[in-house]
Structures are given as structure tokens and as C-alpha cells.
């Protein structure tokens, strides 16, 4: 038992977790990962509370597979993705093992080397590209920085990366504003893949795009995955896209992973009341289907002041007395299908 207790004024962060040992079949192992953002207040900007953006999530990701992360906005999906990549400062607690190495233990220099192995594709292709750099430079900047290819091969290499992502070589001299949304997203993908990563976090890569463009980008991501054996963490609120692309799915609610398992298991047999409600809300493009919808009342509570016990109890249809006081633990119901709910206690 590793136990660390940070104390800031009267605010305690419970940081208890059992360290996991590295299993080589998993490229990424996340164990009780926590990320809290302090709320500053008072005269001298003291920390008066925490926004519990990611509150202890645990999952393992196999090499060459895709994990979908779904949930409402504000549930901590994006923060989880960024925290795994060590992009949002320090973690608050838990472990992130990438290829068996704790990401947060690395020195600056080691982290730089690791950066080529893990990349991110951002949500909004309109604001994540520098308007002042030509596309060739956007894609090639990091390649040059990391000395991945010799100088004389540099141009050919960029051409090849762009070709893989469906961009033409003459696009290299153009600037991002000359491209449509779908093409910009291709540039973002090319930028991430130029470094030959093993693991890519796709943070809502298609939500800003039109339906027909979405299909192109999803197909591209799948093709590239087969070609380069990539591992994706696919963050999205569009459940139909997640079902299409993922092998495993994690459902997040208010910083917690409430259910996690293989895509078929989760969609065929959702166990957690929140997952059930979420899936029943998906509109089906068939007017003859009449759904019996579970409508969730109210909205997601504030992560700065989450409800006691199970965080979902305020909106849960199957709420018991026990749910209000005691937080449930993650349990394996079927092989590989985990749920965090008191309903499934034996």
C-alpha cells in the first residue's frame, strides 16, 4: 500500500491506491488517476477547494486497439486524455504507466523522447493550427526538432506523411486558412502521425465536422491504425461514432469511470443506470422505431462539490439508501466488463 496524504489547509486529498505491476500486453495502464484543479479564493489566493475533474479512473489499454471514452460535457473526458499525456501539469494522484514507465516520473529530457511516442489530435481543427505557419512547417516542425529523419530526406518524408493522410504535396506551401474543416483535421492527424507515435489521444476529432466529412476522417483513422498498429484513446460524446471505432468503451460520469468493457458488451448489455440512460437518449435514424427513453432529470452536478457516496445518486432511478453514503467500488461482472454500482453487489 502506497499512501501519500497531501494537506492544504483543511483540504485533504485522499490518495490511496494499490500500485499495479506492468503487464506487457498493455501499452497504457491507468490506475486510480486523479487530477484536481485548485479553486483559489480569499485575500491571498488560498486554495479554498478543488474541482475534481478526474477522480480516480482505472483502465488498461491493449496495444493496437481503440478505447472510446464517452460522457456528457464537463465529465472530465478531455482532462483525462490530457492528464495521461502529462499535458496539464502534475497529476494529483494515481499511476499512468506507458509501456511500463510511469509518465510522471520521467525527467524533462526523457519526457521529450517519449513525446514522439504519444501524440494528441485536438478537437477543433480551426484553432489548433497556427495561422502563421505553412502546412509543411506545421507537420514538419516536430520532426525536425526530434531529428527523426536526416535533413536530405526531410522533404520526401513530409510528402509521404501528407500522402498517407490524403493531402497533396502542393498543399505544403499553403496556410491553414486556405483549407476546409475536413482537410484541416487531416493536417492535425498528419502532424500527430509524422512522429511515428504508438499511442494517439483523439480528443473529439470529428465533432466539429459535417456528417459526410466525419465518415472520411473516421475511415482515415481506421486505415492508419491498421497500417501502423496505432493505439487510440478516442474521446467523443457521439456514441454512434464511438461504437463504430472502438474495441473497448469507458463511460465517464463526473470524473469517474462508471462502466468499462468491450464495445459489444457495453452496447448490448449496459449495466450502470447512467449508461442505460445515456444509450436510451441516442436518436435512431428510423422513424418507425419508438424508443422508451430514460430521461435523466436535472443536469450534471458541480465537480467542485460532488454528491456524497455514489456521485450519480442524485439523478439515479434505482437509488438506494446505501448509494447516498457509500461510494461503490469497481467490480468485474463479466470477464472484462467492469461497473461501479451498488446494484451489482453480490
Amino acid at each position: 500500500m502506497a499512501k501519500t496524504e497531501k494537506k492544504t489547509g483543511n483540504l485533504t486529498i485522499d490518495n490511496t491506491f494499490t500500485p499495479v505491476t506492468y503487464d506487457p500486453q498493455y501499452i497504457l495502464m491507468v490506475n486510480k488517476l486523479k487530477k484536481y484543479f485548485p479553486i483559489k479564493g480569499g485575500m491571498v489566493s488560498q486554495t479554498v477547494g478543488y474541482v475534481r475533474a478526474v477522480d480516480g479512473i482505472t483502465f488498461n489499454l491493449k496495444r493496437g486497439t481503440t478505447m472510446g471514452l464517452v460522457g456528457e460535457s464537463g465529465c472530465g473526458k478531455t482532462t483525462a486524455g490530457r492528464t495521461i499525456l502529462r499535458l496539464s501539469g502534475g497529476k494529483t494522484g494515481g499511476q499512468v504507466l506507458f509501456n511500463g514507465q510511469e509518465v510522471y516520473d520521467l525527467s524533462h529530457k526523457e519526457l521529450r523522447a517519449l513525446r514522439t511516442k504519444m501524440q494528441i489530435i485536438f478537437q477543433d481543427p480551426f484553432s489548433s493550427l497556427s495561422p502563421r505557419l505553412p502546412v509543411g512547417e506545421i507537420i514538419g516542425e516536430a520532426v525536425r526538432e526530434h531529428h527523426l529523419v536526416p535533413k536530405e530526406e526531410f522533404n520526401d518524408y513530409i510528402d509521404q506523411v501528407m500522402d498517407n493522410c490524403g493531402l497533396q504535396p502542393f498543399h505544403k506551401a499553403r496556410y491553414p486558412h486556405e483549407f476546409s474543416g475536413g482537410q484541416r483535421q487531416r493536417i492535425c492527424i498528419a502532424r500527430a502521425l509524422a512522429l511515428n507515435p504508438e499511442f494517439v489521444v483523439c480528443d473529439e476529432p470529428v465533432s466539429a465536422l459535417d456528417v459526410s466529412i466525419q465518415a472520411q476522417i473516421i475511415n482515415l483513422l481506421k486505415e492508419l491504425q491498421e497500417k501502423y498498429q496505432l493505439t487510440y484513446l478516442f474521446i467523443s460524446h457521439d456514441l454512434s461514432v464511438v461504437e463504430h471505432i472502438s474495441d473497448t468503451v469507458g463511460v465517464m460520469y463526473l470524473g469517474n469511470l462508471v462502466e468499462y468493457g468491450a464495445t459489444e458488451d457495453i452496447f448490448r448489455n449496459p449495466l450502470h443506470p447512467y449508461t442505460k440512460a445515456l444509450f436510451s437518449a441516442i436518436p435512431i435514424p428510423d422513424p418507425t422505431v419508438k424508443m422508451d427513453r430514460i430521461v435523466l432529470e436535472g443536469s450534471i452536478p458541480s465537480p467542485a462539490n460532488p454528491p456524497s457516496g455514489c456521485k450519480f445518486h442524485t439523478r439515479c432511478a434505482n437509488c438506494m439508501e446505501r448509494c447516498k453514503v457509500e461510494a461503490p467500488e469497481q467490480k468485474e461482472i463479466e470477464p472484462g466488463h467492469y461497473v461501479v454500482c451498488h446494484l451489482y453487489d453480490k
Binding site: S212, P287, R293
Partner: protein
């Protein structure tokens, strides 16, 4: 590098276009700004008295310095009273411009309706919205037509309280001379109607204190303030989560029946359309390519674009290996081809596609499609 110069305009050419545009738009603006226009000028007859709105061959152009953009190019469809009509299409296909034409909220003076009629049923009489002058239009907006905008985050004023913003709508359209207290009472009523529990408290809040779903409810309350005959919902749930989307759609459906009005629902989500709409209009590059009842469109999509659109969206519970994606991209709106706009992306072309833009073919009394593939079928009586 001839490709690079495509779309390039010399300064001289650009000046000429902009002078020409000013001449055209000034003429339209002069027409609209006249005072005391006799009602007879914009009175018209509905083709079918059961329709709330009829769009008839609507052409809305934008006169820009780079050339004329034909945003809406000959759109005709009806919105029957008490029904929901869904308008689907990709961004830039003219869905929003169609609805803004009805509201007369186009960006002036560049955006102008150059041809066609929009007939609005007002009970005893019908107006041709295209010809209604500005002052009269103020009475139509809110009372007869109202709109729910796409982004609830940006369409509320951040410096006024929610209650004051709703009050304003009621007071502006009020004909009975309500007192301030009565107006506020009506506001509270409206907020309760759209399912805001703490309506007294919310009325005193500022928009930033509310979540996205709550803000959209406030927008709906404002739109419904005067019980309009037609509500235009322009992507009302695009910015919202699925669970909140379900709540908002439920609410819209119930309220529509309560005040007996029609909804024109603009969205690109076919799932939302299937759930809400009685009739569906599919638009592509400023034209209606297919329209019909929801059952007809979803059970038997006929236009290649509709088929492609449906195949390109993954559906929960239906496993496909590779999503279909429509090849190519939308043609340049300034320089539209003179044949079928979809021909260059179409994988089902037939011999006739070389010809001019196909006209509308009736597959059933309600189901109409603009495609050469169905030309011969109608000759046999169109019994499909």
C-alpha cells in the same frame, strides 16, 4: 500553377463587381424601406389553407465582392399547420439562409431575396413575406414566426438578467398594455412551461450562471412568448449533450402540441429528424434534392445524396466495417455547374446527367426527388 489562380480577381474586376452589386442591392433596399405601403401589395393567397408557410421557388442571393453566391436557388416546400418539417443538409447548403429569409433577418444589404414567394398563413389572410416592408415585419416576428438559434451560449445577452430579457419580448409584442408585474408574471409562467424548476430564481440570474440546456430552455421560452404559428429551430440541440438533447426534443414536441404551432427543424442529425419530423426536406448546394414524409425518406431514400448521407453516419447496433463517404466536395457556390450539382460526386450517374439541372419528379403525392435516375419511372405513371 494554374490552379493557384483559380478564383483570383484583379482589383479592377473586384471594383466593377462591387459597383454593380451596390446598384442592385440599393434598388432592393429602396423598395423595402418605403413607408406606408398599402397592404394589398403584399397580400396573397395560400395555395393550401392547411399550410402554415409555403416556400415557392425561393431564390436568396448574396452579392459579395467576389461574385454572387446563390445560397438558396429555387427552394419550394410547405410547412403544414401543426406538423414538424425537418430540413437536413451539410453546412453551407442553405438551410439556415432559407429560415433567415422567412424571418427577413438576412445580412443586408448583401443578402437579398431576388425571386420567389414565401407565403405566411395568418388566419384570415396570408402575407407574402418577401414583399412585407420593414415596419410591418416587426409585427410578424415573434407574433407569427419566431426562431430558436443554434448556440444558446451566444444568443443571450450576457449583461442582462434572464427575466429582463424574456420580459422585453413580451412587452414588445404586447397589445393589451400589460403592467410590469403582469409581464413578469407571464415570464415566470413561460419559464415554468419550459421546465425550469426554480423559475423565480432563474429569472434573476445572468446567462452565465446557467448550463447549456437551461439556456436553450430560456431561448425556447422567449421564442414561445407570443404563441407563434411557426417556430424555426435552427440546430437547437447541436451544441448540447445527448441526454440534454433528449430533454429539449421532448420539450419541443410537447409544447408544439400545447400551442398548436408548426416547427421547422433545421439540423444535420438524421437521428433527430427521424424522431421529430413528420416531413423531411433534404437540401444540397442551395436546392431541395428530395422531400417527402419521414417514413418515405427513411424507408426509401431515392436521391444519391440522401442515400450517401444516411450511409455515412454510423448507427448504434448496426455494425459496418467501413463507413461510406461521399467522394469529392461541394461545388464552389460562386461558380455552380450548369448540370446537376451533385453529378461530380455521384456514383449512380445515368446518361441523362449531362443535361441541365433535373426537375422535380413525383414518386408519390408527397415524395419528390430531383434526379435523372427516376425520369423513366414517372412515365409509367409514377406508381412507386
Amino acid at each position: 500553377m494554374a490552379k493557384k489562380n483559380e478564383g483570383y480577381l484583379s482589383a479592377k474586376e473586384s471594383r466593377r463587381i462591387s459597383r454593380e452589386n451596390r446598384r442592385i442591392t440599393n434598388a432592393y433596399e429602396k423598395q423595402r424601406k418605403r413607408k406606408n405601403v398599402p397592404e394589398s401589395e403584399y397580400l396573397t393567397e395560400m395555395r393550401d389553407p392547411n399550410n402554415a408557410v409555403e416556400f415557392d421557388n425561393l431564390h436568396t442571393y448574396f452579392f459579395t465582392d467576389a461574385g454572387t453566391v446563390k445560397a438558396v436557388d429555387g427552394v419550394s416546400f410547405d410547412v403544414p399547420t401543426g406538423k414538424t418539417v425537418g430540413v437536413v443538409g451539410e453546412s453551407g447548403c442553405g438551410k439556415s439562409v432559407t429560415s433567415l429569409s422567412l424571418m427577413q433577418l438576412l445580412q443586408r444589404p448583401q443578402g437579398q431575396i431576388v425571386e420567389g414567394e414565401i407565403r405566411l398563413n395568418m388566419g384570415e389572410k396570408a402575407y407574402n413575406v418577401v414583399k412585407v416592408p420593414n415596419e410591418q415585419m416587426q409585427n410578424l416576428r415573434g407574433n407569427f414566426i419566431s426562431m430558436i438559434f443554434q448556440e444558446p451560449m451566444t444568443s443571450l445577452n450576457p449583461v442582462f438578467r434572464i427575466g429582463d430579457q424574456v420580459d422585453e419580448v413580451i412587452a414588445l409584442h404586447d397589445r393589451e398594455g400589460l403592467s410590469k408585474e403582469a409581464v413578469r408574471q407571464r415570464t415566470i409562467q413561460l419559464l415554468e412551461m419550459v421546465g425550469i424548476a426554480n423559475s423565480q430564481g432563474v429569472a434573476r440570474m445572468f446567462p452565465h450562471e446557467l448550463s447549456g440546456g437551461m439556456r436553450q430552455r430560456v431561448m425556447i421560452a422567449m421564442a414561445l412568448a407570443c404563441s407563434p404559428r411557426i417556430i424555426i429551430a435552427d440546430e437547437p440541440t447541436t451544441a448540447l449533450d445527448v441526454t440534454i438533447q433528449a430533454q429539449i426534443l421532448d420539450l419541443l414536441r410537447n409544447l408544439k402540441d400545447k400551442i398548436n404551432s408548426s416547427i421547422m427543424l433545421i439540423t444535420h442529425d438524421l437521428g433527430v429528424i427521424a424522431e421529430m419530423a413528420d416531413y423531411v426536406v433534404v437540401m444540397y448546394a442551395g436546392r431541395v434534392v428530395e422531400k417527402g414524409t419521414a417514413q418515405e425518406i427513411f424507408a426509401n431514400p431515392c436521391h444519391p445524396y440522401t442515400i450517401g448521407l444516411m450511409a455515412s453516419k454510423p448507427v448504434v447496433g448496426k455494425k459496418v466495417d467501413k463507413l461510406y463517404s461521399i467522394p469529392g466536395k461541394v461545388p464552389n457556390p460562386i461558380n455552380m455547374p450548369n448540370y446537376c450539382y451533385f453529378k461530380d460526386r455521384c456514383e449512380m450517374c445515368v446518361a441523362g446527367c449531362e443535361g441541365e439541372y433535373p426537375c422535380e419528379i413525383s414518386l408519390s403525392p408527397t415524395h419528390k426527388v430531383s434526379c435523372y435516375r427516376y425520369y423513366d419511372k414517372t412515365d409509367k405513371g409514377g406508381d412507386r
